[in-house]
């Protein structure tokens, strides 16, 4: 139950940030995938099953706000959420740097899967915008690791 509430709040927060990015600038949407960040953090915090479900929900939201093929984004975000939950329990991601590397690897994987599916299934090219989109996994990983570290410190303070 707690996981579902956290998921709902996570989804709302992602939609909120996504809505906030638009007025800032168009490139902000390209270089920062808010939903990938949310999936990485939620999967790592709540485990593989919750991460996968959260990824599927976020995928549907991305596709609802997109003119592309419906169901496409979920195919990269669902395994992303699952792997974030599964792998984070198998390896040590206690330091900020390790968290960043872990998130960067997953973000690159999700980006590659999404790009491949967009080209193959969606039959459309990626919005390169002078290569800005290539920064997306790195920026997403930085944002995810900073937020995750913040959550971890708050949790640690509460436990003390």
């Amino acid at each position: 139950m707690r996981s579902w509430i956290a998921g709902g709040i996570g989804v709302l927060a992602a939609v909120l940030v996504f809505s906030l990015l638009r007025p800032l600038s168009a490139p902000a949407d390209l270089i920062m995938d808010v939903f990938s960040v949310a999936v990485l953090i939620f999967g790592t915090l709540e485990g593989e099953v919750s991460g996968a479900v959260f990824g599927a929900v976020c995928g549907l939201i991305v596709d609802a706000f997109s003119l592309g093929v419906f169901g496409l984004a979920g195919l990269s975000l669902t395994p992303g959420g699952f792997l974030a939950g599964y792998v984070s329990r198998k390896i040590n991601i206690q330091s900020v740097f390790r968290t960043f590397v872990f998130f960067a690897v997953l973000a690159v994987g999700m980006f590659a899967a999404w790009a491949g599916l967009t080209v193959l299934v969606g039959r459309s090219l990626l919005p390169w915008s002078g290569g800005l989109i290539a920064l997306r996994p790195v920026v997403s990983a930085v944002a995810a690791s900073v937020i995750y570290e913040g959550i971890r410190r708050i949790k640690a303070r509460h436990e003390r």
């Binding site: 809505s19 596709d63 592309g68 169901g71």
Partner: protein, 279 residues
């Protein structure tokens, strides 16, 4: 539950979710461009949430701008007062002109129709996967919006058209920079027609089906809609030619910069009247 399934419960959940999404993909194949039931439902549920969030933020911004941050208000007021005066004069001149041209009843009907000819809308979201494909606006079927209605920006430059999904309070706008957008246009200086196709990779477009033998279209020439497609009224500014190339094929390769500015797309107008009544 068998032990085999218990041990692999997590993997089975993942497989189930992936399978469900693959089915979702395959369900859309026969529908083509039409929005699927799932897409319409998700849009109907999520778009109002996004609209609510934007309204909330706008409300907060309004409080800040109205009661705290009052710099340049005096200068703005003066500028608006001058603009209002100019528009009133222009309006009076137009009304007088109409009265001279038509009888009073016809002129009044024309002015009433003009008020109903467009719906103003705020942009509440952009395409999550590719910002050059579509935007979401805060007006929907409740405000009279229907499929294929043209959308222009504050300067009257073509932005795109309304497409599905459309909910009661929100609608999707396909931008002219989307690949599936095809608009009949012609040169403002030279009457050469072609089809403007979007390019969401670069946020620009291509003017297609202009014969390679044609020499009249040149760089920096503005393009306006022809109205032949029965979707967009004629005369709307659609873009500007940025390069003209010939690569040995039957048609020229003409790159187009869209007329609207993507960075300045906060308010749009949906032309709700039929073609020919929006000019």
């Amino acid at each position: 539950m068998p032990r085999f399934l218990k041990e692999r419960k997590n993997a089975l959940v993942l497989a189930g979710l992936m399978f469900a999404q693959t089915i979702l993909l395959s369900l859309q194949i026969p529908l083509g461009e039409e929005a699927s039931f799932f897409e319409r439902t998700a849009f109907a549920v999520l778009a109002p949430i996004q609209n609510g969030i934007r309204s909330l933020l706008r409300g907060g911004g309004d409080i800040w701008n109205r009661y705290v941050y009052l710099r340049r208000v005096e200068a703005q007021n003066r500028s608006y007062r001058d603009e209002l005066f100019r528009l009133r004069q222009e309006n009076t001149l137009l009304r007088n002109g109409l009265d001279r041209l038509e009888n009073r009843a016809a002129a009044a009907a024309f002015l009433r129709g003009l008020r109903r000819a467009f719906v103003l809308a705020d942009v509440i979201g952009i395409d999550a996967a590719n910002p050059y494909k579509s935007i979401i606006i805060d007006r929907g079927s409740r405000h009279g919006l229907r499929n294929q209605m043209p959308v222009v920006d504050a300067q009257g430059r073509l932005v795109g058209r309304i497409i599905a999904p459309i909910s009661a309070g929100e609608a999707t706008v396909q931008l002219v920079t989307d690949t599936l957008s095809a608009i009949g246009v012609r040169g403002e200086e030279h009457p050469v027609s072609g089809i403007l196709i979007g390019d969401p990779v670069t946020g620009r477009g291509w003017l297609t089906y202009v014969p390679a033998s044609d020499e009249s279209l040149v760089e920096n020439e503005a393009l306006t809609t022809t109205g032949f497609d029965r979707v967009f009224p004629p005369g709307l500014r659609a873009g500007t030619i940025i390069s003209v190339q010939t690569d040995g094929s039957l048609f020229k390769k003409i790159a187009i910069r869209p007329a609207f500015d993507f960075r300045d797309l906060s308010i749009v107008a949906v032309l709700t009247g039929p073609v020919g009544e929006n000019e």
